[in-house]
Structure formats: C-alpha cells, structure tokens
Symmetry: C2
Subunit: 118 residues, 2 copies
Amino acid sequence: MQTSERLNLTFAALADPTRRAILARLATGEATVTELAEPFEMSQPAISKHLKVLERAGLISMDVDAQRRPRKLEPKRLQEAVDWIERYREIFEQSYQRLDALIEQLQAKPSGRKRAKK
Amino acid sequence: MQTSERLNLTFAALADPTRRAILARLATGEATVTELAEPFEMSQPAISKHLKVLERAGLISMDVDAQRRPRKLEPKRLQEAVDWIERYREIFEQSYQRLDALIEQLQAKPSGRKRAKK
DNA sequence: CAGTTTCATAACTGATAGGTAATATACATA
DNA sequence: TATGTATATTACCTATCAGTTATGAAACTG
C-alpha cells in the first residue's frame, strides 16, 4: 500500500472519538473486545467494526487466546502520521512566526493595509 | 467547541489526499482558489468544498483580495492533533520497545509459545 | 456598461460510515 | 453433551461525503 493511502486510513481512523478512546485504552495495555466495549453505550458489533477500522489502518493488531481476540497497539502507522504532520507543522510555525514579525512591523508603522499580495 | 470535536474535524480533514495536498501547497505560501485547484483534475466547486472542510477544522483561513479569496495556513489545530498523537505514540513506543525486549528473550530461549496472557 | 474572472452556492447522485438486531461460530465448562 | 461466553458476520437503515452540473454574485477590465 502507498504511503498516501495509509495516511488516508490512519487519519480516518483517528477521526472518530470512540476509536481514539479505544487507542487510549490500549495504551494502558492489551484488552479484549468485551473489555474495550464496556465503557461505551454501544453494541458489541459496533465496537468490532471500529476495531476493524483500526486494524485496516494498521494501528492495532490481534492476538488469539481461546475465544478471546485481545488487541494491542501498533506504533508504526501512528509514527507515519506524526511525521506527515510534523513536516508541515514546522513550516506552519515558521510562517506563523513570519506573520508575527510582520504584525510587529505593522504596529510600528500602522497603515490602512487591506489588500493581499499579487 | 470541545477538543474532542475539534480533533474529529482535524483528523477527518487530514484523511483526504486532496486536502493534504492543499495543505502542502499552502505550506509554500498563500494561494487563491484557482491556484489551489489547478493541479487537480477536479471541478472548482469540489475544491471549494475541500477548502470549507479545512476551514471548519480551523486548519486554514481566508483573506479577501477583490474577487480573490486567498487561503493561508493556521497552525494551531494541527498542533493539537500532533499533541494528541504524541501523547499516545510515546506509550506506543514504550510498549514497542518492551515487545522488542520480549522478542530478544524469546529468541534466547525459543519455545512453543502460542497463547497470550490471561 | 458589457464582458470576464473568481469564487460560492444549490441541487443532485452514488458510495461509504456508523449504527442496529439477528445470527453464526468457536471455545470453555458443568 | 448442553450451555454459556466471546466475537464475528450479515443484512439493513440513515446520514454524511465527495463529486458533479448549473447558476449566481462580486469585482475587475475594456
């Protein structure tokens, strides 16, 4: 799978609060489906669906323990997401700081500036 | 708006490759809708929709320049997303390293291990 | 003022997401 | 072997998403 496709799946998986809560729970250690479902007012199949989304995104993986299917975290894809964001965030921060500098300049010599460049 | 709700919007916005490309483009500087639409084989209204999603997520903002509506990046929400991920990624990495250590132990003394804990 | 550029909005469509209830499967245990 | 437990799968519904075309509204330009 391509990086872009993986980022689609990763970010989509992170976009749901139930799934983020599941990841947060798994950060404290492995857990079965029943354990993961317990805090939510939601059916067990709904949780299983969420787990499938997290699995497709590569954020979690499954073990086998009799009937249980305990899930655990997989950090790799999450790192990929952080990497993508960080790359742009740095540029964002830079342009933000450039904007701050500009604002300071403008406050030093205020004018009726309204138009943007071009 | 709540942090959780903001994270929903931010991650959902980042889950689309067109929107990520738009952010990447904006990292090189402000751009108009026409400029942003140019690289894509997609109608202008489609791009406007994507921009609306990015705006709702607070990832970009709009200026006014005659008929143009140049967009620029807003780093704040992106930082929030990084913060969320980083918090758990650290724990992920820790458990990953614990797993590495475990694997080393198992390789030192291999056995028919199959069942998980519990 | 007529025409062009830039962009937004509305109405529509097909696909996907997120939930449900019902059912099936695999294993443990009495 | 019968029953309970843990989980997956299926079929279904509704809402939202991502795209389209058509149209409209500002603002510049000749």
